[in-house]
C-alpha cells in the first residue's frame, strides 16, 4: 500500500507515519508532501492508494488539494488529519470527496478504524 502524508509540519508528518505504522500499516510505502501543490504532484507521479492531509497548509490547502484530486478523477482514498473538526469542515470535506476526518489528538486506533471504514466502503 502506498500512503502519501501531506502536512507543512515535518514533525506532524513523522507523528502521522508513526501512528499509521502502529495501526498495522508498517509495510506501507510512505511519501510526504509539505503542501497541497506538492501533494498533487506526488499523487500524479506516485499514484498512492491513500492520502492523509492536513487542512491548513501554505500554497494549496488541504481542501483545495482534495478538490483538485477529485476534479482530476484520481482514484484514491482521501482523508484529513487536522486540529479543526467542525461540522462545517466535515461537510466541506465530504463534498470535496474526502472519506474521513481524523481530529488531533489521535490514536493508532483512530487511523485503523477510519481507514478500514473508508477502504471497505
Amino acid at each position: 500500500m502506498k500512503i502519501l502524508v501531506a502536512d507543512d509540519s515535518k514533525a506532524m508528518r513523522m507523528i502521522v507515519i508513526r501512528n499509521l505504522k502502529s495501526a498495522g500499516f508498517s509495510d506501507a510505502t510512505f511519501s510526504e508532501a509539505e503542501n497541497g501543490k506538492q501533494g498533487l504532484d506526488s499523487v500524479k507521479a506516485d499514484k498512492p492508494d491513500l492520502i492523509l492531509s492536513d487542512w491548513n497548509m501554505p500554497e494549496m490547502n488541504g481542501l483545495e488539494f482534495c478538490q483538485a484530486v477529485t476534479a482530476e478523477g484520481i482514484d484514491v482514498t482521501f482523508g484529513f488529519v487536522t486540529s479543526e473538526s467542525t461540522a462545517d469542515m466535515r461537510s466541506l470535506a465530504e463534498e470535496a470527496g474526502a472519506k474521513f476526518l481524523i481530529a488531533k489528538p489521535f490514536t493508532p486506533q483512530a487511523f485503523q478504524e477510519a481507514i478500514s471504514l473508508a477502504v471497505g466502503s
Binding site: S9, A11, S83, A103, P105, F106, T107
Partner: protein
C-alpha cells in the same frame, strides 16, 4: 474550570503515547526545575471558550523529543525541527483541550519561544491548570489558562 489537572495530565499522556516511546509520569510541582535553556510552546483557543494551552521544557528534552521523532542525532537537528516538534506537542494537547470545550472553537497555530528561564504569558488570562510530567529524567510543564471573561 474547563478541566481538572488530572484531565490535562491524561490528555498529555495520550499525546505523548502517540508521538514517542518512554514514560510520561506525573511529578510534583517542585520538580519544575529546568536545566539550561528553556523552550515553551503555546496554542490559543478562540471562540465560545477562550484560553491558552502551553507546554514548557528544557532545550535538552526538546532535543531528545525531536531526535526520536526525526530519527536524527541531537547534533544533526536544526532549531526549526526542534521547535516544530515541541510546537506540535502543544498543538495536539491544545486539540485535546479544545475537544472538551463546548461550542465552536478554533485552535491557532503554535508559537514557540526559547531562551533562559523566562516569563511567557498571554495578558488577560488566568492559569487554571498546571501539571508537571516527568519525561525520562526531565520535567515538562503543561498549563491551561483561561481568558478572564471565560473563567468560571
Amino acid at each position: 474550570m474547563l478541566l481538572s489537572d488530572e484531565d490535562l495530565f491524561t490528555i498529555g499522556e495520550g499525546v505523548w503515547t502517540s508521538i514517542a516511546d518512554g514514560f510520561f509520569e506525573q511529578a510534583a510541582p517542585e520538580d519544575t526545575k529546568f536545566e539550561g535553556k528553556v523552550v515553551s510552546a503555546f496554542v490559543q483557543i478562540t471562540g465560545d471558550w477562550e484560553g491558552v494551552v502551553s507546554i514548557r521544557c528544557s532545550r535538552a528534552l526538546s532535543e531528545t523529543i525531536a531526535s526520536s521523532m526525526f530519527a536524527l542525532e541531537p547534533a544533526e537537528l536544526t532549531d526549526e525541527e526542534i521547535y516544530d516538534a515541541v510546537g506540535e506537542i502543544a498543538n495536539m494537547i491544545g486539540g485535546g483541550v479544545k475537544g472538551i470545550a463546548e461550542g465552536e472553537n478554533t485552535l491557532t497555530i503554535p508559537v514557540v519561544a526559547e531562551g533562559d528561564e523566562h516569563v511567557a504569558t498571554v495578558p488577560g488570562t488566568t492559569t487554571e491548570n498546571s501539571v508537571v510530567a516527568k519525561v525520562g529524567n526531565e520535567p515538562m510543564l503543561l498549563q491551561v489558562s483561561t481568558r478572564s471573561s471565560a473563567a468560571s
